[in-house]
C-alpha cells in the first residue's frame, strides 16, 4: 500500500447484514469502523458493531442512506479515510464516488467513470456490443416516454423485461407477459426504481426462454491486473430477486468457465475497472451466454465465492482500494461446493407478504461447514423501510449433494420467532427434484410454485396440537396460581398500607 492512501478508519455507508459483514473484516484487519444509521436503525446490529456511529436522518432511505452529503459529512466528522458502500443504496452511484474523491476519502469501489459506463445498464450494453460480447436484445438506452416504451415492447414481442437503468437486485424489475399489463407495470417499476435508487430511468429487454443466470466474480487493481474468481449460479429467483445461489454451476464445464471468465476480465479491463465487480450472464438452453449487466459492487451472494476460494472479498476490496496488488490468477483455487440461502422476513403462505416486526426469539444454526451472515438479533424490530433480507445462510461441503443436505439441515435449526420468514420455503427449494438434479433455470420458482409452498406435514399435526394444548394448560395453571397468590397478598398488604401511611405522616411529606 502506498502511504498516501493508507486506510485506517472505514465508514460503512450501509445497514443490515452487509454493514455487519464489512465491519467484521475491518475488525480483523485492525481498521476502525463508523456506522451510519437512520431513525429506525438506532438499535440496529451494525450500530452496535461499529466503533463510532453517526445519525444521518429519518427512516425512509431517500432521506438518510441515499443522501450523499450526509454520508460524506459523517465521514469528515469522524475522520474516516475510506467509505465502503456495501450493496444496494448508493453502491453504484458515481456521484457518491466523486463526492468521496472531492472530500479526500478513498471510495471502496471502482472509479466513477467505470461505474458510469458499467453501472448504467444501457451504457454497459453498448460497450459490450462494441467489444463483441453478445447481449440480450433490447432498447439501446433508457426510454422516458411510456407510450414510446410500450411501442418498443410491442415490436420486441412479449414477454419483455422492464429494468431500471441505475439498479440491480431485482428492485423495480418487472416481467411483462402481455401487452395489456405493460403500462401498469411500467408505472410500478418507475416508482420502485425511484424509491430504491433515486433514479427512475427504465429500459427494456427481451425475455429469454429457460435462461440460467450465471455470474462471474471479477477483481481488478490499479496496477492493470484483473482476475476472475469463477462463477455463481443464481437461477433460483422469485420476482427477479435471487433466493438461492451456488457455485460451481451445474451447467459450466472448465472450458466454458474459462471462456466466461476471460470475457468478464476483458470487460473489466476495457472500462478501467478497479475493485470487486460481477459480470452477469444469461445462459440459454444451448449453453450460449449473453452479457446481462455488470454490478460494480460487492454482491449479496459473495460468500458463496468466499467459501469455495477461501478468500475474504471484503479484505481484497480494502486492499485494492488502498493501492494493493491482487494475487495472480493461477493462485486462485476453487474447492468443493457452496450454496447460499437468503433468509427474508416474508410470509410465503400469504403470497410472500413482507413481515416486518419484532424478533422475539432467535436461534441460528451451527455445526460443520455452516456460515450465517446475519444483521439482526433477538429483540430487534425489523423495520418496514428497508430490504426484507435478514440473513444469508451458507453451506460448504466437498460435493453438491452434501452441500444441499447440509444447508437443509441448517435451515431446520434456524429459529426465528415474532416475524415470519421463508426458511421452510428455502428448504423446499433445495429439496425439490429439479434443484437436486441441477436442471433448473430462472423459471424454477414460478414453475414449481405449488411444490415450494408446502402445507405442513399431516404426520406431525397431532404433536403440534399436543404441544399447543400442553403449553396452554401450563399457561392457564400459572395464571390461576398467580391469581391465588395475588388474592393472598392483598389480604397481607392491608397492614402494609397502614404502615406506609404512618411512615409518611411521620416524615411530614405527601408523596
Amino acid at each position: 500500500m502506498s502511504p498516501k492512501t493508507r486506510i485506517r478508519k472505514v465508514l460503512v455507508a450501509n445497514r443490515g447484514e452487509i454493514a455487519v459483514r464489512v465491519m467484521r473484516t475491518c475488525r480483523e484487519m485492525g481498521l476502525a469502523t463508523v456506522a451510519v444509521y437512520s431513525d429506525a436503525d438506532r438499535g440496529a446490529l451494525h450500530v452496535r458493531k461499529a466503533d463510532e456511529a453517526v445519525h444521518v436522518g429519518p427512516s425512509p432511505a431517500r432521506d438518510s442512506y441515499l443522501v450523499v452529503e450526509k454520508l460524506v459529512d459523517a465521514a469528515k466528522k469522524t475522520g474516516a479515510d475510506a467509505l465502503h458502500p456495501g450493496y444496494g443504496f448508493l453502491s453504484e452511484n458515481a456521484a457518491l464516488a466523486r463526492a468521496c474523491a472531492a472530500a479526500g476519502l478513498t471510495f471502496v469501489g471502482p472509479p466513477p467513470e467505470a461505474m458510469e459506463t458499467m453501472g448504467v445498464k444501457t451504457v454497459a450494453r453498448r460497450h459490450m456490443n462494441a467489444a463483441g460480447v453478445p447481449t440480450v436484445p433490447g432498447s439501446e438506452g433508457p426510454i422516458a416516454d411510456e407510450q414510446e416504451a410500450k411501442a418498443f415492447a410491442d415490436a420486441l414481442g412479449y414477454p419483455v423485461m422492464i429494468k431500471p437503468a441505475a439498479g440491480g437486485g431485482g428492485k423495480g424489475m418487472k416481467k411483462v407477459e402481455r401487452e395489456a399489463d405493460f403500462l401498469a407495470l411500467w408505472d410500478s417499476a418507475r416508482r420502485e426504481s425511484a424509491g430504491a435508487f433515486g433514479d427512475e430511468r427504465l429500459y427494456l429487454e427481451k425475455f429469454l426462454d429457460e435462461p440460467r443466470h450465471v455470474e462471474i466474480q471479477i477483481f481488478a487493481d490499479e496496477h492493470g491486473d484483473a482476475i476472475h474468481l469463477g462463477e455463481r449460479e443464481c437461477s433460483v429467483q422469485r420476482r427477479q430477486q435471487k433466493v438461492v445461489e451456488e457455485s460451481p454451476s451445474c451447467i459450466l464445464d472448465e472450458r466454458m468457465r474459462q471462456a466466461m471468465g476471460e470475457v468478464a476480465v476483458r470487460a473489466a479491463k476495457a472500462v478501467g475497472y478497479r475493485g470487486a465487480g460481477t459480470v452477469e450472464f444469461l445462459v440459454d438452453a444451448a449453453r450460449s451466454f449473453y452479457f446481462l449487466e455488470m454490478n460494480t459492487r460487492l454482491q449479496v451472494e459473495h460468500p458463496v465465492t468466499e467459501m469455495i476460494t477461501g478468500l475474504d472479498l471484503v479484505r481484497m476490496q480494502l486492499e485494492v482500494a488502498g493501492g494493493g496488488r491482487l494475487v495472480p490468477q493461477e493462485a486462485v483455487a476453487r474447492r468443493g461446493h457452496a450454496i447460499e440461502a437468503r433468509i427474508y422476513a416474508e410470509d410465503p403462505g400469504r403470497g410472500f407478504l413482507p413481515s416486518p416486526g419484532k424478533i422475539t426469539y432467535l436461534r441460528v444454526p451451527g455445526g460443520p461447514g455452516i456460515r450465517d451472515d446475519s444483521g439482526v438479533y433477538a429483540g430487534w424490530v425489523v423495520p418496514q423501510y428497508y430490504d426484507p433480507l435478514i440473513s444469508k445462510l451458507v453451506a460448504w461441503a466437498p460435493t453438491r449433494d452434501q452441500a444441499i443436505e447440509r444447508l437443509i439441515r441448517a435451515l431446520g435449526e434456524y429459529t426465528v420467532h415474532g416475524i415470519t420468514t421463508n426458511v421452510a420455503y428455502l428448504a423446499a427449494v433445495l429439496d425439490h427434484p429439479a434443484f437436486r438434479s441441477g436442471a433448473y433455470d430462472t423459471q424454477f420458482c414460478e414453475r414449481y410454485a405449488a411444490d415450494l409452498v408446502r402445507p405442513p406435514d399431516p404426520a406431525f399435526e397431532d404433536v403440534a396440537l399436543i404441544a399447543a394444548a400442553v403449553e396452554a394448560y401450563k399457561r392457564d395453571r400459572a395464571a390461576a396460581e398467580a391469581s391465588v397468590a395475588r388474592a393472598g397478598s392483598v389480604a397481607a398488604s392491608r397492614s402494609n398500607w397502614a404502615r406506609l401511611g404512618r411512615a409518611r405522616a411521620l416524615r411530614g411529606g405527601g408523596a
Partner: protein
C-alpha cells in the same frame, strides 16, 4: 382436567383436546379418540421437548397476537387454542365470512403507494384496491368481495401500522 378446542386452517377446522396433568411435567392428552402419555420439558423460551408415548420431538412455539405457530420437524402449524369460554364467545360472534361490510386492513406496516379506488366505486372480487409498499416491495391489496367502496381511510404517501383500517367494501 382442562378442555380446549384447537382451530386449524384459519378456523376452518376444529379439534377438541383434553389435557390432564398426572405429575410435574407429565400429562395425559386426549386427541381424536386417543389418549397420549406426554412428558413435556420446557427448554429455553418457546422450546418444548415432548416425549409422546416414546417418540421424542422438539416443538418450537412462536406466540403471536391471536395464535401460536408451532414448528415440529420442518413444518409450521398455525394453531389457535380456545378454552370453552372463548369458544362460546367466538361462536356467538359468527364464523369466517365475506358477507356484509368487509374492512380491508394493512397486512403489515408500510406506506400507501397508491389508492386505486374512491368512495362509491363499484368493485369486483379480487380487484386491486390499494398498493402498500413495505420493505421496498409493492404489494397489491385486493377486494375480498364484489360490491361498492363505502370508505377509504388512507391517502397516497401515508405511513400505516399493521392492521390499520384502509378501506371498506360493502
Amino acid at each position: 382436567m382442562s378442555r380446549y378446542v384447537a382451530l386449524l386452517d384459519g378456523g376452518r377446522r376444529e379439534e377438541p383436546i383434553e389435557v390432564r396433568q398426572t405429575a410435574p411435567g407429565q400429562f395425559e392428552v386426549r386427541l381424536r379418540g386417543r389418549v397420549h402419555v406426554v412428558d413435556a420439558f420446557r427448554h429455553d423460551y418457546g422450546t418444548l421437548s415432548l416425549i409422546v408415548d416414546t417418540a421424542s420431538y422438539t416443538a418450537m412455539l412462536d406466540e403471536r397476537d391471536s395464535h401460536v405457530r408451532v414448528r415440529v420437524r420442518d413444518s409450521v402449524y398455525p394453531i389457535e387454542i380456545l378454552d370453552e369460554k372463548k369458544l362460546r364467545m367466538r361462536r356467538a360472534a359468527g364464523g369466517f365470512t365475506v358477507e356484509g361490510r368487509q374492512t380491508l386492513a394493512a397486512p403489515m406496516p408500510g406506506r400507501i403507494a397508491k389508492v386505486q379506488v374512491k368512495v362509491g366505486d363499484a368493485v369486483r372480487e379480487g380487484q386491486a384496491l390499494l398498493v402498500v409498499e413495505a420493505m421496498k416491495m409493492e404489494n397489491e391489496l385486493r377486494s375480498p368481495k364484489g360490491g361498492r367502496v363505502v370508505e377509504v381511510l388512507v391517502t397516497e404517501g401515508q405511513v400505516v401500522e399493521g392492521n390499520a383500517k384502509l378501506c371498506v367494501v360493502e
